[in-house]
């Protein structure tokens, strides 16, 4: 091959690679415009001086952060948010995994119908869905009326963590199911049979074979649900009735009720950093747990 020919071949492969890379441009643009720039803006605001006349005074300060970090209330709210998020994630996994398993192993014909049923919570708008839960859960709601008619005492199901947990889990189970079902579908059912023939009971075959092989899906699902849960606003405010304080609720209140943009921004940035750190550790752990799984 002559040098000129070689050059055109190289040139062609370079331009082909370039063409492939061009495909990410639209997505990248959206991320930069709608995510990176606003976040950078937030970062800037969080280091500005609060003001009662404007959104903020353009004077640099770290006081927003020092005040925030020194306040034990901040940490209580952060902890509570993470706790609710973790609980929602665990509950979604507990409910979603068996569903995902069933879905993945269902005959092809019924899989479509099951899929629609699974994502049905997402087909109703968040407000309507949440008001629906309120009708069921409130002190004079359907469930409590039923309990009282049986002579039992009513149970507070709303305006507490339980209500928030119910509302959040309801929406997030589909995310879990879809993530997990995908990986389980990729696990050859014969592997479980192989384990059975080697002497493992049904449960042990599951724990030793299917479960570890589905960990990538579990990682994706839990990550998705956790992030969505700790950042959700509408459900915790409506079903928590402002007795349940989470970071998003507090940030919104700081900005819209106290008009303290810099303090709210600082809180958002702090929580963002903490979340990122937690996810990093979690991904490391899950990566270790599912080593060997291709």
């Amino acid at each position: 091959m002559s040098a000129a020919q070689a050059e055109t071949v190289i040139g062609r492969s370079v331009s082909r690679q370039l063409g492939r890379h061009l495909l990410v441009v639209p997505a990248l643009a959206v991320v930069v415009l709608c995510f990176v720039i606003p976040y950078l803006n937030l970062l800037v605001i969080s280091a500005m001086t609060p003001s009662t006349r404007a959104a903020y005074l353009p004077v640099f300060t770290l006081a927003n952060y020092t005040r925030l970090i020194a306040d034990p209330f901040t940490w209580r709210v952060i902890w509570h948010t993470l706790w609710l998020g973790g609980l929602t994630t665990a509950l979604s996994l507990l409910l979603g995994y068996p569903l995902a398993y069933h879905l993945a192993r269902a005959p092809r014909r019924s899989r479509g119908l099951l899929m629609v049923l699974v994502i049905s919570p997402l087909l109703v708008g968040v407000l309507i869905r949440t008001y629906g839960w309120m009708i069921l859960l409130q002190d004079t709601g359907v469930i409590n009326q039923f309990l009282r008619s049986l002579g039992a005492r009513g149970v507070p199901l709303m305006y507490n963590d339980l209500g928030v947990l119910i509302g959040l889990t309801h929406v997030f189970v589909p995310f879990m199911v879809l993530s997990v079902a995908g990986t389980i579908q990729g696990v050859d059912p014969e592997l479980e049979l192989a384990a059975r023939s080697l002497g493992a009971g049904a449960w042990r075959a599951f724990w030793r074979v299917t479960w570890p092989l589905s960990l990538p899906g579990v990682t994706a699902g839990t990550l998705l649900v956790f992030v969505l849960a700790i950042s959700s606003y509408v459900i915790p405010s409506l079903l928590g009735g402002f007795t349940v304080l989470t970071v998003p609720i507090l940030v919104v209140r700081t900005v819209t009720e106290l008009f303290n943009w810099p303090a709210g921004s600082a809180f958002a940035i702090l929580f963002f950093a903490i979340t990122l750190a937690i996810l990093w550790v979690y991904l490391r752990i899950m990566g270790w747990a599912s080593r060997g799984v291709s």
């Binding site: 050859d188 014969e190 384990a195 023939s197 080697l198 009971g201 074979v209 060997g292």
Partner: protein, 361 residues
């Protein structure tokens, strides 16, 4: 060591009968090949033995114990799957150790037995590899090691060579055979490949449309098939239709479109019965048409060579016997006959096998 008995095994899937009233015994230490075209119910049978599928009727008796209602984990069957079903998240040694760990054997014994079997199948150096890092043949040997290490009562193989390339498949046939002999393990081997069955099996059970056609040694099945379907399924054969005109001691005389043919015959072929004669291409000789009268007792038909195909060591002829019947003949590489030649077709009555004409296809 244990014998495996299938007694009247039947499996229905809704309206479809996958296996019908199958009774076969695999003697202790014997290798029986369950042979049939795809969809004949052979894999379903294997899955019933392994316990993955519950029979609609019939029993599975393993080593004198009725295991029909036992779950797979209590049957002690070593199974090798068509796609091996190696655990992708475990290394070779972890895969092989799995069955021993399930039996809660002490760690030291697990390590010893895994080491031994890996050495036996030549995988010692690959113990720490993951299945995806192995070649097809190595995966196959890992699957065999994993099934054998638990000292199973019976070894079940489901088309174990179907995913290997032709050359490796040939090697593995002999390899599996020697391994099976060495372990002296009762084995049920499912395959659709008649060559594989002939090489490997002590006995072959031919299954078609869920019904057992014939059980016997490879020689028996090959040269004395009980039905025309079995004859056609095992290797290449010519099926020449005719009518029985006489029975003479151990020979059957038939009138066919190509002339009178003497053949050995299955019992129960009465005079006047419709029949077919199975003649293997390798048992037929061609000679010049004007050759002097046939050797004594040898069948002598006449035909015209229509096709001649060079196959390397052999030549494949299609000889027209009249009325459109094309006879396949295998000749030596130097065979002089050319397309269009008038030829004599000669074959021994011992090499011709008369069968009842097919009642149902």
């Amino acid at each position: 060591m244990a014998e495996l008995r299938l007694q009247g095994l039947t499996k229905r899937f809704g309206e479809v009968v996958a296996v019908r009233d199958l009774t076969v015994t695999v003697e202790s230490g014997e290798l029986v090949a369950l042979l049939g075209p795809s969809g004949c119910g052979k894999t379903t049978t294997l899955r019933m033995v392994a316990g993955f599928e519950a029979p609609t009727q019939g029993r599975v008796v393993l080593g004198g114990r009725d295991v029909t209602d036992d779950p797979p984990e209590r049957r002690n069957c070593g199974m090798v799957f068509q796609h091996y079903a190696l655990f992708p998240h475990l290394t070779v040694e972890q895969n092989v150790a799995f069955g021993l760990e399930m039996r809660r054997l002490p760690r030291s014994e697990v390590r010893r037995r895994v080491g031994e079997i890996l050495e036996r199948v030549g995988l010692t150096g690959l113990a720490r590899r993951y299945p995806r890092q192995l070649s097809g043949g190595q995966q196959q040997r890992t699957a065999l090691a994993r099934a054998l290490v638990i000292n199973p009562s019976v070894l079940l193989l489901d088309e174990p060579l179907a995913n290997l390339d032709a050359k490796l498949r040939e090697e593995m046939r002999f390899y599996i055979r020697s391994l099976q002999r060495e372990f002296g393990i009762t084995t049920l081997y499912v395959t659709h490949d008649q060559a594989e069955a002939l090489v490997l099996a002590d006995r072959i059970a031919v299954l078609m449309n869920g019904v057992l056609q014939q059980v016997g040694s490879p020689e028996e099945i090959y040269s004395r098939p009980r039905t025309a379907t079995v004859a056609a399924f095992l290797g290449v054969t010519n099926l020449l239709p005719g009518r029985v005109v006489a029975r003479r001691s151990d020979l059957v005389v038939l009138r066919t479109s190509a002339g009178i043919v003497r053949a050995c015959g299955a019992d129960g072929l009465a005079e006047g019965a419709e029949a077919v004669v199975s003649i293997r291409p390798e048992h037929i000789d061609l000679d010049r048409a004007d050759a002097p009268g046939s050797r004594d007792g040898v069948n002598h038909l006449r035909g015209v060579v229509r096709e001649r195909t060079f196959l390397g060591g052999l030549v494949d002829f299609r000889v027209d016997l009249g009325e459109g019947f094309l006879l396949r003949v295998q000749g030596r590489a130097g065979a002089p006959q050319r397309v269009g030649d008038q030829v004599s077709v000669l074959f021994d009555p011992q090499a011709a096998w008369a069968l009842p004409a097919q009642e149902t296809a």
